[in-house]
């Protein structure tokens, strides 16, 4: 695996495969759409670089999520801003079924706003769970016990629901 990932084409392929997930992870750390795109590109590049030194110290999936989220945390620190405010509305794009698209887009916007309002420790657990990672994978990514993941997940889920109910679409 180590040798295979040191080649640029193999790494390019992995990055392309993970690109939608990288892009969504960036959404969890930056609410400004322009900065979010930049962050996603930075995450992709850091993952691409980190893959060259991957040596099976953990599962590849865990390794990639660690790098992605570490870049996100680094972004928050470097930007030096409070990670809570979220008042920018993204335009809703219309396609063949406008009503459903608008409703989905509104729900997605509401979900995103709620995610941004979560404290960092809960936000990370929730973001990883939203990507369908198992509790074991989340524990490996975060470096905490599985039971701790369960506790954070319950707390994060509860806060997310409260925030979503309290957010206007």
């Amino acid at each position: 695996m180590k040798n295979m990932l040191q080649g640029a084409p193999a790494r390019d392929e992995i990055i392309q495969h993970y690109w939608p997930r990288i892009s969504r992870a960036a959404m969890g750390y930056e609410h400004n759409p322009t900065l979010r795109e930049e962050l996603a590109q930075e995450m992709a590049f850091e993952v691409w670089r980190a893959l060259a030194t991957f040596s099976n110290q953990c599962a590849l999936n865990t390794y990639i999520y660690r790098v992605m989220h570490n870049v996100g945390v680094d972004h928050i620190r470097r930007a030096g801003r409070q990670p809570i405010t979220c008042n920018e509305e993204e335009p809703v794009s219309l396609s063949p079924c406008p009503e459903r698209v608008v409703s989905d887009a509104q729900n997605q916007a509401r979900l995103l706003r709620a995610v941004h309002r979560l404290p960092l420790s809960l936000r990370q657990v929730v973001l990883l769970k939203l990507e369908d990672l198992s509790n074991i994978e989340i524990a490996e990514t975060l470096g905490i016990s599985e039971s701790n993941v369960g506790v954070r997940l319950n707390r994060g889920k509860r806060q997310l629901m409260e925030l979503m109910q309290g957010t206007t679409p």
């Binding site: 939608p20 969504r24 590049f45 989220h69 620190r77 989905d104 960092l120 939203l130 990507e131």
Partner: protein, 184 residues
């Protein structure tokens, strides 16, 4: 939409497609440029400080007016006080391992924020001290009629230093808020 199930939210979350295309070639070019700029800064910043320090020493040895020598000497000390902690912080930040577990890296970031808070505080007080010393020098030269620089130049410097102090204070407060959010 039912909000009590993460599976439903998960599906909604994963429906979001990337808005931009990934361009690795551009990113690699940007990274090379960034590295080049970093190396350039690494050389230029200490070089500028060494030049200004040498000027101060040369001023002391060649019998410049006390006023001018003090101006430069205080500026040099101020420069070093700001530069050394900044370089240490930068160095530690570059060495952060991106593949660490998130708990470990959040601890590292909290540590970096502590250093940053200390750095902003140090910068604030160093600038305040510089302001007081320069103010005293200006009053002294004004009274003894030894004007080294026109008064308006000194006024601009004072205004700049006050703005700088306000900036340092604001940055420190932002870091403290951020640290709190990392601790939650």
């Amino acid at each position: 939409m039912k909000n009590d199930d993460l599976d439903e939210l998960s599906a909604l979350w994963q429906e979001q497609a990337p808005k931009a295309q990934l361009n690795l070639t551009d990113l690699q070019r940007k990274y090379r440029k960034h590295r080049w700029l970093m190396r350039f800064n690494l050389v230029i910043e200490p070089m500028l400080l060494v030049i200004v320090t040498s000027l101060a020493v040369w001023g002391l040895l060649s019998g410049e007016t006390l006023h001018k020598t003090l101006w430069i000497a205080v500026l040099v000390i101020w420069g070093w006080v700001l530069f050394v902690p900044l370089t240490v912080s930068r160095w530690r930040s570059f060495r952060l391992m991106k593949s660490k577990s998130l708990r470990e890296s959040v601890d590292d970031h909290i540590h970096l924020l502590d250093q940053e808070i200390l750095r902003w505080r140090l910068s604030f007080y160093a600038t305040g001290t510089l302001l007081v010393v320069l103010l005293a020098l200006t009053v002294w030269t004004f009274i003894s009629e030894l004007h080294a620089y026109p008064l308006w130049v000194e006024m601009i410097v004072f205004a700049g230093l006050i703005l700088l102090m306000a900036f340092f204070r604001k940055r420190r407060q932002a870091c403290e808020v951020l640290r709190e959010s990392f601790m939650q």
